[in-house]
Amino acid sequence: MSEPILELRDIKAGYGSIKALKGINIKVYEGEIVSIIGANGAGKSTTLMTICNIVQATSGDIFYKGERINNIVSDKLPKMGLCQVPEGRRIFPRLTIEENLDMGAFFRNDKEIEDDKERVFGMFPILRERCKQAGGTLSGGEQQMLAIGRALMSRPKVLLLDEPSLGLAPLIVKQIFSIIKEINSLGTTIILVEQNAKVALSMANRGYVLETGNVVMEDEAKALLNNPDIQKAYLGE
């Protein structure tokens, strides 16, 4: 295979005296869906936050398109095509839905913003209906759609998704995942962090299993799905 688009080499990070990541290595190739699974507190969200430099890596290197991005401040990353939908969606509750989408294209100055907005509305018709409503008035599933839509507005090369299924009804989860698949088929590389290991692995190309800050297993997603240890620990079988 060619060069990975995103690579984490021996990343260590933490909050104060707590070490959340103890040296993890992850490689993501262009066009893939990579899913990171693990229990609560395994360091999944921290991994994504470290990639976006919200949490500083204490050691190790992060490479994006061959460039070391450890010291690039987080607000420069969306412009480089690295975009995150964080845990808990974090839409702007007092901005309208349209403004929320505009925020996704904040750094952009081109003429195609409106087209992209149309594209997002096409993907999530419910958002168009409510586009003048404040973001905080949406239901959980709609907020998740808005968060994904907002991330798409920045035309990401790599999209980091943190628990998109959190707190949503199974039907909505299905819908969201099919959209994620669609986004991936349009050429966006996706890193998917999930508790819902079964769904995540069934749509991913490859998977990583995190346990207390270490990568304990990495393999093709199918292989992981069929791995008896994984089945026992994460798939409840």
Partner: protein
Amino acid sequence: MEYFLQQLINGITLGSVYALIALGYTMVYGIIQLINFAHGEFFAAGGYVGVIFMSYLLSQGAPAWVCLSGSLILAMAYCAMLAVAVEKVAYKPLRNSSRLSVLLSALGMSIFLQNGLMLTQGVYDKAYPTELTQGGFEMGNVMLSYMQLFIVSLTAFLLVALNVLVFKTRIGKAMRSTAQDKVMSALVGINANRTISITFAIGAALAAAAGIMVGLYYGSVRYDMGFVPGIKAFAAAVLGGIGNITGAMIGGFIIGMVEIFAAGYISGEYKDVFAFVILIAVLYFRPSGIMGENVDDTRV
């Protein structure tokens, strides 16, 4: 009736000043949840720098409008710079520590700036040049001085400009989203630190304008003049719903009116009490203020 009209005019004038100061409090509070105690000092510093430049320009023989607008612009720029400096030195390093430490840091800055003003400018009142804005319209016994007209129209202009800035421009959008979620704003590409600095600068510039207005209106400035109007303006910001820009404007006008009418109709000595009584009553019955949305009040 004439008395009432006169009081109304005075109330609007005073309310303009409070509204301008309250905006700074509310914007800063909205974005970093800090009661910026040093804000009253920006107001005082604005008054001082205004009088310094005004007297200088006047002594150089500049025409009145140059003196007024020049000193206004310079004082606003000065206070914006001062606020950015204070924010960088005293608040930015504390972004992630407890809110009480930032509050105390702000208190320290307030005392520091107040005494700095006193040391450099002296303990005594500094008089504003009076010849610039004399005269006015008289309708019966109601008097509308040019000064009041100047204050009210300038305030109106600034308020409209601020509204356009906050609700129509990119910077405004960045300010509003940073106020709601700093991490997420960074993830969509907003430089939070720069946005916060800009917010401080705008707030302080408005306070500086208010400082000059007060100086012109009352004829002099004093190094410790920031405290009482600062507290009342903060009360106005809370009254309007803290973090809400429209609310701060309305709150400012209400506090100004209450003060003038209470002084005119009830008792001059207790005029300051009424502002606080109104504040406490509003908070008791409607804790989020007049315009306040559901603020997240769980964080201490």
